[in-house]
Symmetry: C2
């Protein structure tokens, strides 16, 4: 079989290293408004265009004072200051603080000229309408945020390749940045192969089943920040599969073929993928269970993935190799491993060394502890998909896990 020539089993990291050598570094970018920027990836580094705050502000409710006027103040012997009005919110504070006086100021209010500290209202006592006692000394600079203390003009805000979170958008808004240059989402072509597969909206004839993976993989690709084009189902006919794949290749930045579950369909898919363009198949088989029958290829600059037909396998492999490739096409660096939930294993699990095992698992909270109950049974059952809340990862070099052991469960 021709595909045996390419048979090179790889870890996910090795597969990505081989693939990324062939991928361009710079995504195309477009100008977008902040209201459309949540979850998008920055195409350029962003720097602060101005000082923030733009003026010295009070960090507390209290009185703007000259610190020297409060030296030696105590509860027993307060400093007595004349209250010279109130600093208006949202307007310039122009009246200087004269020696022996204080101006009422609110959190966020602009520090008036000649003031060099703020006394918290808790440490003052009103005497009458126009005077106040200060019960503690203030140091110069106390409870003041100076201009540029938060961010100075030119300070780096966010690097290129950063996926924008809610708080990032808030900071950009605060600095008056209402548009940014964002990576254009890559277009992911999704197609399935196999004589037994029909689209979700078709009525399967005897011997046929509806396509699970087109729906699942499209949703995962959108979650990863890509746009999706679905190309339907190709029968087990080499010429037809190649035609459909080439149509996807011409229209997309990345192509996913979810192969049927039989070995013959997979082999045919591998041959078609191998013949699409230079350099062809880079990895045939990854050291992961489930997910071993995975093909990673590049056809003239476009990454092409042949994913297993088994839906759990296809999801696992998507997370390990396709999602990082989408990040790469977006110009984003490698993602940190996702946060995990620590849970105790409700039954022992066997594993082989030399591959990474992913075990779909349900999660229950009992007496303040999370317990992970593996969802076992044949891995091509779709019920597994709805029953599992996470994946237990058993590393390459681990032999298995005992009941009661603590495991880290990844979101699924």
């Amino acid at each position: 079989m021709t595909t045996d020539i390419f048979f090179q089993i790889a870890t996910p990291a090795e597969a990505l290293a081989r693939l990324f050598k062939h991928l361009p570094f710079t995504p195309s970018s477009e100008r977008i408004g902040l209201d459309a920027a949540l979850g998008r990836v920055t195409a350029t580094p962003l720097i602060s265009p101005e000082d923030s705050p733009a003026f010295a502000r009070s960090a507390m409710d209290g009185y703007a004072v000259r610190a020297a006027d409060t030296y030696g103040a105590s509860e027993a012997l307060p400093a007595f200051l004349t209250v010279d009005g109130e600093v208006p919110m949202g307007a310039a504070a122009t009246r200087p603080v004269q020696p022996g006086t204080a101006q009422l100021i609110h959190t966020g209010g602009m520090l008036p000229p000649r003031a060099d500290a703020v006394v918290m209202v808790e440490y003052t006592q009103p005497v009458d309408e126009t005077s106040v006692e200060v019960l503690r000394p203030a140091a110069p600079g106390q409870h003041i945020i100076k201009a540029g203390d938060d961010l100075a003009a030119g300070d780096p805000l966010l690097p290129a390749g950063h996926r924008l979170r809610a708080q990032d958008l808030g900071v950009l808004a605060a600095l008056g940045i209402t548009e940014i240059q964002a990576a254009v989402p890559p277009v992911i072509g999704v197609l399935s192969s196999g004589d037994e597969i029909v689209p979700a909206d078709a009525q399967p004839a005897p011997g046929q089943v509806r396509d699970v993976n087109a729906t699942t993989l499209s949703a995962l690709a959108r979650q990863a920040g890509a746009d999706v084009r679905e190309f339907g189902v190709a029968p087990d006919d080499r010429a037809k599969l190649e035609r459909l794949t080439r149509a996807a290749l011409a229209a997309c930045d990345l192509v996913i073929i979810s192969a049927g579950s039989s070995v013959s369909t997979r082999d045919m898919t591998a041959e078609v993928i191998g013949g699409l363009g230079h350099p062809g198949v880079l990895v045939h088989g990854i050291a992961v269970k489930p997910g071993k029958p995975t093909i990673v290829a590049v056809a003239d600059g476009i990454p092409v993935f042949g994913l297993p037909g088994n839906p759990v396998s296809a999801m696992v492999v998507f997370g390990l190799v396709v999602a990082p490739t989408i990040r790469r096409l977006l110009g984003a660096g490698p993602a940190d491993d996702p946060p995990r939930r620590r849970a105790r294993l409700a039954r022992s699990l066997a594993s082989q060394t030399g591959r990474i095992d992913f075990v779909p698992t349900a999660l229950q909270e009992r007496d303040g502890e999370w317990w992970a109950t593996p969802v076992l049974g044949p891995s091509n059952l779709i019920a597994t998909l709805v029953r599992a809340a996470g994946l237990i990862r058993i590393p390459l070099d681990a032999g298995g896990l005992a009941e009661g052991a603590w495991v880290d469960v990844e979101p699924f």
Copy 2:
């Protein structure tokens, strides 16, 4: 001050318990297609409309046999079977397996009549074009998925109130469910108050700053599954704030007012919120740092939140009380605590018992361990927002944490 009447400090759980007593249980729902259903919440339980698989299938590549024909087979003394053709993929298998014969079958292929087991191809040896040796006995039912083994018609798939994941959509597609009844996203009204606040696209005059929270809270509300309407900024004028708030109340299912940072603005906001409708303010102050100056109210069935002006505080309180309320309005049950990242603390942290402390923190990976470096400094600095990658939660009853201690970091 009138608001003191309502001054009741509460934990986040107590605040939600008081609030939820006043909220309706059933969200309105709408019919949507699967392609628009990712992240939406089911309004009704979903059950399997059919058996899956609809027919007995092979779980392996191999031969469909009558198990009795293989009894006693071994490598030394194989069972000899005549190969009676191949089961077509994607079509009905109609030809019965006759005694002493086998039919070639692929994974997912329909089990032919009279076959009761599948022998894996690895345990067979071809003799010639039309016969095969079986090297191990097969038990009845081996490597077969019977009709309904995965899901039977009427089996529960997903409860009402479930947020749909990629794999859930795949399962629905597999069962031919291409439309579902989903909760209508609640409309969240977002407004800010404070004389010193101007919208993000305005040029602040001296003493003014641009609004951070409208952008941040709108993005968080969208992430939580809501639609958002922004109502702009109200000045520190009771009549104007009340007019803007009532406009939001009339158009929305939930209203968030991000109050200015000064006590006087907050007090005025509390009075306005208290006068909007029955029963008024339920909680004034929550036992969380940052985030204490939070108001939780209901005005004639509509939840109204007064959030702190400090952007980090507003985000923390959003996660603790607003996001769970959005889930409630969507008909979804309480969310599990988010998965966290275990990390070691790079410096000691003080805390007071009697409140939950959230400390924004940066994260670095060093020698395979994650280290959390708290982002300290005045909490109203916006640089904190971009520098922090997570929040360390210090529980109600904890006094502090020592350098090097393991902490759980929530995504931020």
